[in-house]
Symmetry: C2
Subunit: 361 residues, 2 copies
Amino acid sequence: MQTVRIALGARTYPIHVGSGLLVRADLVAPVLPHRRAAIVTNDTVAPLYLEPLAAALGAARIESVRIVVPDGEDHKSWQTLNTVFDALVRERCDRQTAIVALGGGVIGDLAGFAAATYQRGVPFVQVPTTLLAQVDSSVGGKTAINHPRGKNMIGAFHQPVLVLADTETLATLPERELRAGLAEVIKHGAIRDAAFFDWLEANVDRLRARDPESLAHAVRRSVEIKAEVVALDERETGLRAVLNFGHTFGHAIETGLGFGTWLHGEAVAAGMAMAADLSARLGLLDSRSADRLRRLLQQAGLPIAGPRLHADRYVELMAIDKKVQAGRARFILLERLGSAVIRSDVPPEALRGTLADATAG
Amino acid sequence: MQTVRIALGARTYPIHVGSGLLVRADLVAPVLPHRRAAIVTNDTVAPLYLEPLAAALGAARIESVRIVVPDGEDHKSWQTLNTVFDALVRERCDRQTAIVALGGGVIGDLAGFAAATYQRGVPFVQVPTTLLAQVDSSVGGKTAINHPRGKNMIGAFHQPVLVLADTETLATLPERELRAGLAEVIKHGAIRDAAFFDWLEANVDRLRARDPESLAHAVRRSVEIKAEVVALDERETGLRAVLNFGHTFGHAIETGLGFGTWLHGEAVAAGMAMAADLSARLGLLDSRSADRLRRLLQQAGLPIAGPRLHADRYVELMAIDKKVQAGRARFILLERLGSAVIRSDVPPEALRGTLADATAG
């Protein structure tokens, strides 16, 4: 087991990465002094991991309530959130009852937002079971639900007290979701760590073959990189925006196609390829580096072009994205592999060029 | 104009109290550098104050979107909150658009929760137009909506950047709401300031006659007392709970009768009388002081007994209240006028006695 400590003053918390952590209730017990938890999961993950987790907690004398919601991004909605609140009230969960998110990013975001707002905030534990959730959702304290007209439009910052990233749970992850998770891993290399990017180029096949040591290294290094960025800028006022590399295009893709058509990681992969194209078009990034990024994404089994929506539709979808400031879209671009920059002066023609050339029917 | 500064480190903000502040956009402009606001109000307040406020903001070159929701506690709901989110998205409000709550406590709580969660948090300005909202909701950063089975069950802490408490708006306040606001004013004296309690006994008739100077004094002193308590305990871990004096019974009354049957202040008044009865029953408070509290509430035109719900129903309603810790109800009691204590060792027989004697059919 390796541990990355997320330094946030009084709210500092550990992320444990390793094999078999799901049943390590000894790691959970110290942060749940009131020994009561509500496990929120979905109907895909529940048959696999709910019983082992609840049993381990029970053996450590932590009583748990089980709340199972339907699987899928469609259910990151206020309707599903309301069913979670209904269950919490029905089970008389109080302010000391921790909410445990067992599942992927949707469950983490939904359960995290429930934890942020139920009785104005209760303790939150994450047990991410997808690669995406392990490398992305476990750091940063972001929680949210979707609005029909925008992803993550309603949410809160709420830090977990503990994250258990059990790499064994990745064994049951569908191939497509493993690839989608690799998109965020690659992103972390691209924006901040050229050596890690090199390592990924050398190890992408091992990662796709789910070699445990390679996965553990990828998760730990991703978490460390994200933690470095977040610790410097907890509330996303500046630097942290680089974590959104690929996301302005990516969110437009997800919203434009309807949530759930593409996986988040797939949309981000295409978004990164589009952002790299735009970076090269502006003379920021050399074309060889843009090619390397595209090739790595391709080797990871990810799309490297957005769907061919109308350019106006892309622009419209990006305009309601949260990263708009005073009506002007900010873009996260690369100046080289391992270094991202934030630009709000992208000429419309360059954007139109990318939307024409870096999308495919 | 008098100003109380709420000291919260980087989030310190001013509460201005006085006449004619609604149109003082010069006070608003410095906290809205992006000069865009969404005013959330209800259909009772809108005809009175929306146009003057929006016009004053417009004259200061602050563009405003207007969001009018139906009046009433029934609308402190997920459904109404969603109509606010819909409008914010439709009007393309971004993270720099401030949300301005123009109205009473329901609007403050609802708009405040929207501000806490829209795009994970936007700046929040309060313009409270009821006595209750001026003395209570403007300090503490609490925002919330109701759940069908519990008041304020879903919410967040989100501090405003500015509060404008315009005492002129109290001129149009219905008599019943003025009285309800006095309940919280009296509460502040009872829990923390015997001299202020004395002043209230001497000035309750002037307050009911809406003497401007008396109202301004009552608002300012209430805000100061609440601010003292909140500054010592921002997240309600301990001391701050004394502000819930009367509220455990009060919330049970509101939930038991259905939200909106009694005004919040009326329920709190009866709740304070019940808590004083319980305090006297336990030998904490002398009976003369309990009588003084009941008499002052009566002079303010407020109820001094809860409705005669079945005792089991009261207990059941109090058990899902947020102030439950580990299954055991905490009560805020008085040891004398001007000093509250928190007790979780109330014998069931004493509680039953209060529920039998301090309620009326």
